[in-house]
Amino acid sequence: MKKKLSAFGKELRRNSQLRSGLILLAILLIGAIGAPVFATHDPFALYDSIRVAPGTDGFIFGTDALGRDIFSQILYGAQTSLKIGVIAASISAVVGTLIGGIAGYFGGVVDKIIVEFINIFVMTPSFFLILIIVAIYGSDIRYVMIVIGLTSWPSNARLMRAQAISLRQRTFVKSAQAIGVSRLSIMFKHIIPNGIFPIIANTTMQISGAILTEAGLSFLGLGDPNIVSWGQMISAGKTYLTKAPWISAIPGVFVVITVLTFFLIGEGLNRFISPKMENNK
């Protein structure tokens, strides 16, 4: 364990993307979890200072068109963004790992069917699917997370399938088979745990994707009005773009930072996995 930690420390020193990503993530987490502590105002409360510029009347980032404090909304919005990103990407990871694992490990007809199934999904422009489902069936944040998760799993499935195909040739899998361990338990005990690393890196990237997708849906007016979300803040500020540009500008900056955070971590992890890219500094 200690050895692993020190290896990780060493990696961190070498891997600038992972390092800066993790630092940013720490800041984001502190902001999101500590939102009730750091927030200067109630994010939903309507104050009499309507559309005041940052720094006015004690509103650090100003207020929006309804008189809500942008700074506090940013903090609570961080919770939303992180939650959406993590949950949607986790759904994608679980579904992708299972489907990919089964295809790769079981092989044969099962594999062929699953591969074609994945092809269908890859060829379906998932964004349109998400748009149609959310527009038509409602913008409840739970649907949004599930729909994003259920449309982004194919890349994970492909990764896991490749991993499973190579792992099933390995000695420890073969010997487990020889002593009669069931195929399912081999998959869960050996294949998935040993092949999961690329999935973790890819899932981190998908957190970014999910956050961007939610922001985009909110921008098109398909956000859940019962939560604070950066995408909705950008959308609400669009009307006041010239008069009160901060309403749109500030949440946008935070979307960029958050998405960037997970990109960096994902890229950092990828470099960690494939040392061949070592020189790719």
Binding site: P125, I132, G216, V255, V256, I257, V259
Partner: protein
């Protein structure tokens, strides 16, 4: 090779059919009635609703409607848009041009710019300019396109006032010929710029990392050992191999350009397919939705097959069963 292509074409057709079917059912099962929307919220004319429902065949069951639809499509009839009161195929033909104009220009700039910068940075690997460009690419990769669009409007149209806010042409001008082209180009700067900025990081990083990877391969080292000039090695061997991933990705991204166009067309009031799709969802314009989806699915399928072919031409090592 021929057998392989044939097989890909056949699976392509099956996949297109399945996804169109899913889409068809999904949209028609959704709450909301297109004819009622046509009739308006207050005081709808029930007589006209009944007439139009029958005229558009919406009184039939969904499976029946699907059979009719597929039959019509096979005969080349993509249906009639309720909202726009015209043939879906004409409507899409009208709207696809502005969208392609926008997205192909942006894609060209992003691919050329991104790839060239990527190759440049790979050769300057580790230098300050490389690090700076990498950082920039990460930031733009993380930027939502609609937000970038808004910010560019704010800066270039509202504050500096040097570019038009939106739209595709200056109606008042009645420009013809070269003036018209220039006018449209001026309106394209902001939306194309936004799209290109959002997309270039992708091509930048792929080009950069594949060049680096190829350069580290054994055959390059061998070539170096033979005393071949570095420039020649690069131009003759590295570039060729390093461009393969870009080509692969190009095919799929072309088909997905439309997704991004929804945002850009919304922000810039650009009269294209993205807006048409979004508006049609709201109005439940079934034939238009099915039509766009069908064409999209076919495009993606064709693109994927084309990419495979191009791929095999670039890299003869790849063999198909």
């Amino acid at each position: 090779m021929k057998r392989y292509i044939l097989k890909r074409v056949l699976t392509g057709i099956v996949i297109v059919l399945v996804s169109v079917c899913i889409n068809f059912v999904l949209i028609r099962c959704a709450p909301g009635d297109p004819v009622r929307i046509l009739a308006g919220l207050d005081d709808p004319n029930e007589d006209q609703i009944a007439v139009l429902t029958a005229q558009y065949g919406l009184d039939k069951s969904i499976p029946e409607q699907f059979v009719v639809y597929i039959g019509n499509v096979l005969r080349g009839d993509f249906g009639f848009s309720y909202v726009n009161q015209k043939q879906v195929i004409d409507l899409i033909a009208e709207k696809v041009v502005p969208t392609l104009l926008l997205s192909l220009s942006a894609l060209t700039i992003a691919v050329l710019g991104g790839t060239l910068l990527g190759i440049y940075c790979a050769r300057k690997n580790g230098k300050l300019i490389d690090k700076a460009l990498c950082a920039v690419s990460y930031v733009f990769d993380a930027t939502p396109s609609f937000w970038l669009g808004l910010m560019l409007i704010l800066i270039f149209a509202s504050w500096l006032g040097i570019l038009p806010t939106s739209g595709m042409e200056n109606m008042r001008g009645h420009y013809t010929g070269i003036r018209h082209v220039l006018d449209v180009m001026q309106h394209m700067i902001l939306p194309v710029g936004t799209l290109a900025l959002i997309q270039f990081p992708y091509y930048f990083r792929i080009a950069r990392s594949s060049v680096l990877q190829v350069m580290s391969e054994d055959f390059i080292t061998t070539l170096r050992a033979t005393g071949m000039k570095e420039k020649k090695i690069f131009n003759k061997y590295v570039l060729r191999n390093a461009l393969i991933p870009t080509v692969t990705i190009l095919g799929s991204s072309l088909a997905f350009l439309l997704s991004g166009s929804v945002y850009i067309e919304t922000v810039f009031s650009w009269p294209g397919m993205g807006r048409l799709l979004f508006d049609s969802i709201g109005k439940r314009d079934y034939p238009v939705l099915s039509g766009i989806y069908l064409i999209l699915a076919i495009t993606v399928a064709v693109m994927m097959i084309l990419v495979d072919v191009v791929y095999s031409l670039i890299d003869p090592r790849i063999k198909y069963d």
